[in-house]
Symmetry: C2
Subunit: 433 residues, 2 copies
């Protein structure tokens, strides 16, 4: 509320309100009549009426017909003065976990965004379809069919801001109660199951899983976390058979499927039973830029038939501008071109990282694991001392890492390190290790 352009009635309202709050009126006392106050102040009766009306609406005075306005009893609780000594919290962006800026063709993306704003702007004036925009779901349908042999109807696809958001929607309408998964867990997903009070059943291998009775299995069969191991075809078949005979749904979190350095991409488990018992989930997080958060899931027809009666309950969180832009980005073939470039650079970095890790360390310091996929390595240290020195070096360089529980291992992401810096970075990370 700045002081210019404030209407006169509001000044009057503020004045009387302050007087009431300062107990300058007795409770129940009558306010001066509209006509009399207007005359005294040389203002219009309309102005006084408006001020009184505002006091009336907020409950500072009451109106008694044919009698006038009376002050109500208003005792405001003590208010502490605002204390803005909040301990600040700085969100740290780690260099090694971002996308290097030379990768994304931001100019093409800007052109696409402008196209949407210029030609599709009418669509921006209506609410989002709670399932996501049809244009984007259709592009996703084509994409996952081509790349992952996931066959589905566009109606089975639901868009969300991330795996957590999609799980929220899924658990909300399915109303189930237990989930199994290979430990270690994918924390962000499991926290949603915890929120829904699920019984969590961590298991160590596929055999243990297929001996479990559960509503859901959460798994990344083409890229288990964090080592990127692959669930072999025999185990996949066992999982499908087990899911069918137990009415279990397999949630396939197919993250980073396109990043495989020494083999062709591994088929989705969805393609093993045409998704009768598989909920397929994917994300564009690592394929685009991290600031655009778009994920999607494919519901089996049996679940779609429940979902379609309740989907209006959840609002769509992904911005429509982002949805329509990505749809056009995909339709015009720019997305395919981008992921190709991206993959080539990831591969180059992966090789450089491994090369320099081996070059600057002695043999018995650690073993490198999980380097065939993903954008991180797992380093398995021989001694706690080496591990600790390495993490200290990470912290000094402001690099992100994640320790693995009960192991002398850590997960080290590298996608954000510029290719030309890798040698120097590795040297420094291995300093005195």
């Amino acid at each position: 509320m700045n002081n210019t352009n404030i209407p006169l009635y509001q000044f009057l309202y503020e004045e009387i309100k302050t007087e009431i709050l300062n107990n300058e009126y007795k409770k129940g006392s009558k306010l001066e009549s509209v006509r009399s106050l207007a005359k005294k102040r040389l203002i219009s009766t309309t102005t006084v009426e408006k001020a009184y009306n505002q006091l009336l609406i907020e409950g500072y005075i009451k109106s008694v017909p044919r009698s006038g306005y009376f002050v109500l009893d208003v005792i405001t609780p003590d208010i502490s003065s605002f204390n803005n000594l909040v301990e600040p919290l700085v969100y740290k962006t780690y260099i090694n976990n971002k996308l290097t800026t030379d990768l994304f063709d931001i100019k093409s993306y800007k052109r696409i965004v402008n196209k949407v704003i210029n030609y599709d702007y009418e669509k921006l004036y209506t609410e989002c379809d709670p399932r996501g925009e049809l244009e984007l779901r259709e592009e996703i349908r084509k994409f996952i069919f081509e790349e992952r042999n996931v066959k589905c109807d566009v109606n089975q696809i639901v868009i969300g801001t991330g795996i957590q958001n999609l799980l929220n929607i899924l658990l909300d309408f399915t109303n189930k109660s237990s989930v199994t998964y290979l430990s270690p867990e994918f924390k962000k997903a499991m926290s949603v199951f915890r929120t829904f009070n699920y019984l969590l059943l961590p298991k160590n291998d596929i055999e243990e899983i297929t001996n479990t009775k559960t509503d859901f299995l959460y798994i990344s069969p083409s890229n288990t976390y964090p080592l990127g191991d692959i669930i072999k075809v025999k185990d996949r078949n066992d999982l499908i058979k087990w899911a069918r005979s137990n009415n279990t749904y397999i949630i396939e979190d197919d993250y980073n499927f396109f990043i495989r350095y020494n083999s062709y991409t591994i088929p989705s488990i969805h393609s093993y039973d045409n998704g009768e018992n598989v909920i397929y989930m994917g994300s564009f997080a690592k394929m685009l830029i991290p600031s655009i958060r778009i994920s999607f899931m494919v519901l089996p027809i049996s679940l779609y038939n429940i979902y379609k009666d309740t989907y209006r309950k959840n609002s769509q969180g992904v911005s429509k501008l982002d949805q329509l832009s990505l749809a056009l980005f995909m339709k015009e073939g720019l997305f395919k071109r981008h992921t190709k470039k991206l993959y080539a650079q990831y591969k180059e970095k992966n090789e450089a990282i491994k090369k320099f890790l081996l070059k600057y360390s002695s043999n018995d310091l650690f073993t490198i694991q999980g380097s065939d996929s993903n954008l991180h390595l797992v380093l398995d240290f021989k001694t706690l001392k080496s591990l600790n020195q390495f993490t200290r070096n990470c912290e000094n360089l402001s690099f992100e890492y994640q320790k693995i529980e009960n192991k002398r291992s850590l997960i080290f992401p590298y996608s954000g390190i510029e290719i030309n810096d890798i040698q120097e970075v590795i040297k420094r990370l291995l300093h005195e290790v």
Copy 2:
């Protein structure tokens, strides 16, 4: 997978895989050696090795050192042919509930988006701050201080895709169990409390509320749903005192605060105790365009001190491009200009709707309620017959409406009807009512 550019090894891999799946090898039988197959097919040994490696990774064959590759037992479950006969589900956008396209200055917004992409694109390459971007939180801080006298530090502000998303975050880290509210409930909010297994305590008035023991009160004191009634100052004071002495948090959902046609905007309840016991929530949904989904909440310092240790658990769902664009839109004063224009048009529509409703209906058909605020009216019909005819007319015109339980009333939104169409629309809606 299109057929151009597919590497040779992949053809070989597909061929052998198909043979294995068609049982053309006996279980355990040995594959031809790499060298021998390469010679027979006139291809390089590398190509054969790559194909065998892919089969190995996926688990179709196993490798026995110094002996060769052997076929594993792989019985794939029957797969139904994909049935794409999904009952399609068309999301209906109702004309009367959108934003009319002449309102939003899409050109300025495009200029802002381009500015962000041109000058701030480096920020787009890093992950979002889980609380929302600092630039936007700072603009929100200034905005709610100016408009709603909400005093807070920028660190207390959390951004989300909507009230549901913010409630998810809030309920997740606070770990409480009961909520009270004035019935009728705001359904989308209450569904989140239900998800978290909350005890729901609907009440009819403030006195009932202040006799309740509960963790949260969910309320819109400046605009109760759906009639837009205002909680008077005495009741507000009682609520603050009650909240303080019971360790209750008041969730103030301050939606549409800026839309008041016959009075000045009503103060936030947050300003009554500087937010010690009030969680302030707001949304840009009706102030911008509905496709940009940005909401925010202000945490009391007591809750902020819990939140700051767990905030990394939740990913930020709002696109960073949208966040940075809105921040700049606000900073450059375009937002203020826009909401002013918006408010003027809402007011004009509100008056036209009321005028024509009265013109084309007889006196005893219905009463108009809740018309002093919001973008809807509540029509209270005298007879069920009139109500039913009105809703039939709504359906014929593809207009959205919402019935109020146990009453002959309905909520009718009007923001999407063009000002010049209002007379004709009302005529048709009242046809034979």
